[in-house]
């Protein structure tokens, strides 16, 4: 019984191996890149536009609006990372209708990798927005007593992301 696509190895050379997770991730990436190139090849700036362009604009504007709704200023800085995360997980899940397809998000390795990206991105965006001092100061808010709890919440958030994507979605 195979619990994870990591166990399906297509090619291996020493410690370098290509398993189903990596291969299907590349397939998803190729699919998304080609789709994006095809849709954005002839974009319309008029009132009339294609359905695909409309869909992408809805996704782009929707995520931007959600980021604005939670109070973050200048959502353009976070849009690339968040949208890519959303689209990658969405496409990985949607493509399960294809026969013999193994979703990359079905592997704990993928979700841990994504969680690690988030774990690194959050302090990076925080420091970019508030500076190092301001970001580190946020850990002792509202009081200094909350410092360990804030650190634990950072770590637990990462683990929670990994587990939620792996077991909650696919």
């Amino acid at each position: 019984m195979r619990l994870s696509p990591d166990q399906l190895i297509f090619w291996q050379y020493g410690w370098f191996h290509l398993n189903a997770t990596i291969v299907f991730t590349w397939a998803i990436m190729l699919y998304m890149a080609i789709g994006a190139m095809l849709i954005t090849r002839r974009l319309s700036t008029n009132h009339q536009r294609s359905g695909w362009q409309n869909l992408l604009e809805i996704v782009v504007v929707g995520i931007e609006k959600q980021i604005s709704d939670i109070g973050l200023k200048d959502p353009q800085k976070y849009i690339g990372f968040l949208r890519t995360l959303f689209l990658f997980v969405a496409f990985s899940s949607l493509c399960t209708v294809i026969p013999y397809y193994e979703p990359p998000t079905g592997s704990l390795s993928t979700t841990v990798g994504l969680a690690l990206c988030v774990f690194v991105a959050v302090p990076m965006f925080g420091i970019e927005a508030q500076g190092v001092g301001g970001y580190l100061k946020s850990y002792i808010e509202p009081t200094v007593i909350m410092l360990p709890f804030n650190i634990i919440s950072e770590v637990s958030r990462t683990l929670a992301l990994a587990v939620r994507i792996r077991f909650g979605i696919i």
Binding site: L3, D6, A33, A36, L43, T45
Partner: protein, 215 residues
């Protein structure tokens, strides 16, 4: 252990590459297209606002010009009316004056005609009454004409009868007929009037005229 750290590392790299790919081929063009459309819409709205303002201004100008034209037209109409009334009054006065003149002339003409008619009737009446005292059965033909008062001294009119055999003179107060055989009829105005007491002598051109008959 389900976590393959090589796969984790590979997935992190794959995800970062995917982020770059999406930014390059998807987000950039889409956001650019959205921004361009928003700019176009903003430009169209600004243009529409500008045209609306311009149309409003032109409408106000049009209304103002219309009001000015209406005022000018009203002024012209009033002036034309007053001119027409004045001209009409002048023409009526002229026509009335002409009618009065014609009436006066007609009245004068009627008076003159009446006077002339009266005189002619007097003369006719006198001639009719005078002709009864003549013997029109005399030979020859009579031609009667009146003579002017310049040749008459006592003021009464007389008749000079021209008979074919000579000039015969007769006056309403005279009872004599003088036969004049002068062939110079233009000298008839030189006939002198003699009173009945001297009716036997009538001079013409200094020569006495003998009475031919006594009536």
């Amino acid at each position: 252990m389900l976590i393959d750290w090589f796969t984790v590392a590979a997935q992190v790299i794959n995800f970062l590459v995917l982020v770059w790919l999406m930014k390059r081929f998807l987000y950039g063009p889409i956001i650019h297209a959205i921004d361009e459309r928003e700019k176009k819409i903003a430009a169209e709205l600004a243009d529409a606002n500008a045209k609306r303002e311009e149309a409003k201004k032109e409408r106000e100008d049009f209304v103002t010009k219309n009001a000015v034209l209406d005022q000018q037209r009203a002024n012209l109409m009033n002036k034309a009316k007053s001119d027409a009334e004045r001209l009409s009054k002048q023409l009526c006065d002229k026509a009335r004056q002409a009618a009065d003149d014609i009436t006066k002339k007609r009245q004068e003409a009627l008076k003159n005609y009446a006077r002339n008619l009266n005189q002619a009737l007097k003369h006719l009446l006198h001639s009719l009454t005078a002709s009864r005292t003549f013997d029109t059965s005399a030979k020859g033909s009579w031609r009667w004409f009146a003579y002017g008062a310049s040749s008459h001294r006592n003021g009464s009119a007389g008749y000079l009868g021209l008979h074919s055999d000579g000039l015969k003179f007769r006056s309403p107060t005279d009872r004599y007929i003088y036969h004049h055989r002068c062939s110079n009829w233009g000298c008839c105005q030189r006939l002198t009037w003699v009173s009945p007491s001297r009716a036997s002598v009538v001079k013409h051109n200094g020569r006495p005229i003998e009475p031919s008959r006594v009536i």
